[in-house]
């Protein structure tokens, strides 16, 4: 019944201490997992499975890790290996597990003015963009995508001097700016295919192993953050990496009707190399 539900909600959210009767878990996550709608599916199933209510804030990898360090999250889902390593090394995170992957790809105007399509590597594609003078739009926000982009530019011997727009925004916004400005950009497939109303861009370089995008889940270390709900966090990790959880991830299709994430937890040795 909606009324009792609302009353319950209001009580719970306004009172400083949540009732112990309901177990809950706070997740800080990168935006793409949320914006595609995957988390809605996972949260519902998780609740049904364990009775634990999953709450999440979708803020981007950098901010998510910061929130976790500040003790405001119990578990994180992120996709930037370097930042994750730092997080683990500083002792804030434990039990990192790879849960899924998809791919980055380079997209550009449909007429591909830089003739990047058909390149043999990402570095080559970027090099063509650079030499053509067509603008490249970068997120420029130290996100997982941005970090990867910088790595790729390093392989392509440096980013363009002028035809390089840094948006400092999320993937969706950056894609839109690339479309408006008829530029190229690096995007993850989930956002690209999940984004409604985006026209004028097409993938020019994709499905390459060097563009793999790994999502992982990390529990917050209760030894470091005593308030962290470690038990619930581990339950969530267990759920995500369980065959059922992996199945849900694999079967998830966004609005576009394509599979957006590839389950990875069962891949042998994945947590060692990715």
């Amino acid at each position: 019944n909606g009324d009792t539900y609302r009353r319950d909600m209001s009580l719970r959210c306004m009172s400083p201490i949540s009732p112990i009767s309901e177990r809950s878990l706070m997740l800080a996550t990168t935006t793409s997992v949320d914006a595609t709608g995957l988390l809605d599916v996972l949260a519902d199933a998780f609740k049904k499975d364990t009775g634990i209510a999953l709450k999440w804030i979708a803020v981007g990898t950098g901010a998510a890790l910061k929130q976790a360090r500040d003790g405001n999250a119990d578990v994180v889902i992120v996709h930037a290996k370097k930042l994750e390593d730092e997080f683990l090394r500083d002792g804030y995170g434990v039990n990192r597990r790879v849960i899924a992957r998809n791919y980055f790809m380079i997209v550009g105007p449909v007429d591909d003015p830089a003739h990047a399509a058909g390149s043999s590597s990402a570095a080559e594609a970027l090099g063509r963009v650079k030499s053509s003078g067509v603008p490249f739009v970068s997120r420029g926000d130290k996100s997982g995508t941005h970090t990867r982009e910088l790595d790729l530019w390093a392989l392509a011997s440096g980013k363009p001097e002028t035809a390089y727009l840094e948006t400092g925004q999320g993937m969706a916004e950056t894609l839109r700016i690339a479309a408006e400005r008829r530029g190229y950009t690096l995007t993850d497939t989930a956002t690209f295919y999940g984004l409604q109303g985006l026209t004028g861009l097409k993938p020019v370089y994709e499905n390459a192993p060097e563009l793999e995008n790994i999502y992982s889940v990390i529990a917050v270390n209760p030894a470091r953050i005593p308030t962290a709900r470690y038990g619930e966090a581990m339950a969530f990790i267990a759920f995500l990496t369980s065959p059922y959880g992996q199945q849900l991830i694999g079967e998830f299709r966004g609005k576009s009707g394509r599979p957006l994430f590839e389950p990875m937890a069962a891949t042998p040795g994945v947590d060692l190399v990715k």
């Binding site: 909606g2 609302r6 909600m9 719970r12 306004m14 949320d34 914006a35 003790g71 109303g197």
Partner: protein, 216 residues
């Protein structure tokens, strides 16, 4: 977005921002009355600070309260972060200077003789204050409603301090932000329209209710 979630988001918006407007008004209107009533050294400075405060971006207020309310912050023990209470607190802080500024202008509009006449007829200073408020009733209403409008339309604080948690702290504006991030612009605009219609309704209700039949 399903209907139940929309209804909940509307409810969260109304509750947190309505409360914020009430609390902020309860502080700001007396403060404005005090400022409007007398001239003292440092009054210009107070007004200047108030004016500057109006320029505090929601994100910065969000950050500020985040660092206070975060588990690692001084008030972390309260567990207020990512609750509607935190949103309300942040919004109170956001709209305070707006309501002070608006009310100050509104109260300066009251003829100085109103207070004096009330005192001359035997009012206590507090009663005279009420008289001044009553004479500026409609303009104060606009001030409070402007504060409410500011609170219900802001997104930075709701996002940072509420966390846009589904079924808990997600309100209309954070929903709009989410829809926008998803590229669902149409949904964003529809939600915006819903927000405006609700505000229109509230304005209509409050104005006709409190204004009654008397002329402005």
């Amino acid at each position: 977005m399903i209907f139940r979630e929309l209804a909940l988001a509307i409810w969260v918006s109304l509750k947190t921002s309505g409360l914020a407007a009430l609390i902020a008004s309860a502080i700001a209107v007396p403060a404005a009355l005090f400022l409007a009533g007398r001239d003292f050294r440092g009054k210009r400075l107070v007004l200047l600070i108030n004016q500057t405060w109006m320029a505090a971006p929601t994100v910065v207020i969000g950050l500020l309260f985040y660092s206070l309310l975060s588990r690692s912050g001084p008030f972390g023990g309260l567990g207020l972060l990512y609750t509607q209470a935190a949103m309300t607190v942040g919004q109170v802080f956001l709209i305070l200077p707006l309501i002070v500024g608006f009310s100050y202008t509104a109260l300066r509009q009251v003829d100085k003789r109103a207070r004096l006449t009330a005192l001359a007829l035997g009012a206590t200073p507090r009663q005279a204050g009420w008289v001044v408020l009553r004479e500026a009733k409609y303009a104060l209403l606009i001030a409070v409603l402007a504060g409410f409008a500011r609170a219900i339309s802001e997104v930075g604080i709701a996002m940072m301090l509420g966390g846009n948690i589904r079924n808990a702290t997600r309100n209309i504006t954070t929903s709009i932000a989410l829809e926008t991030a998803k590229g669902e612009f149409r949904n964003g605009i529809v939600l915006g329209a819903v927000l405006l219609v609700i505000t229109l309704g509230i304005n209509l209700l409050v104005q006709t209710g409190l204004r009654g039949k008397d002329k402005d």
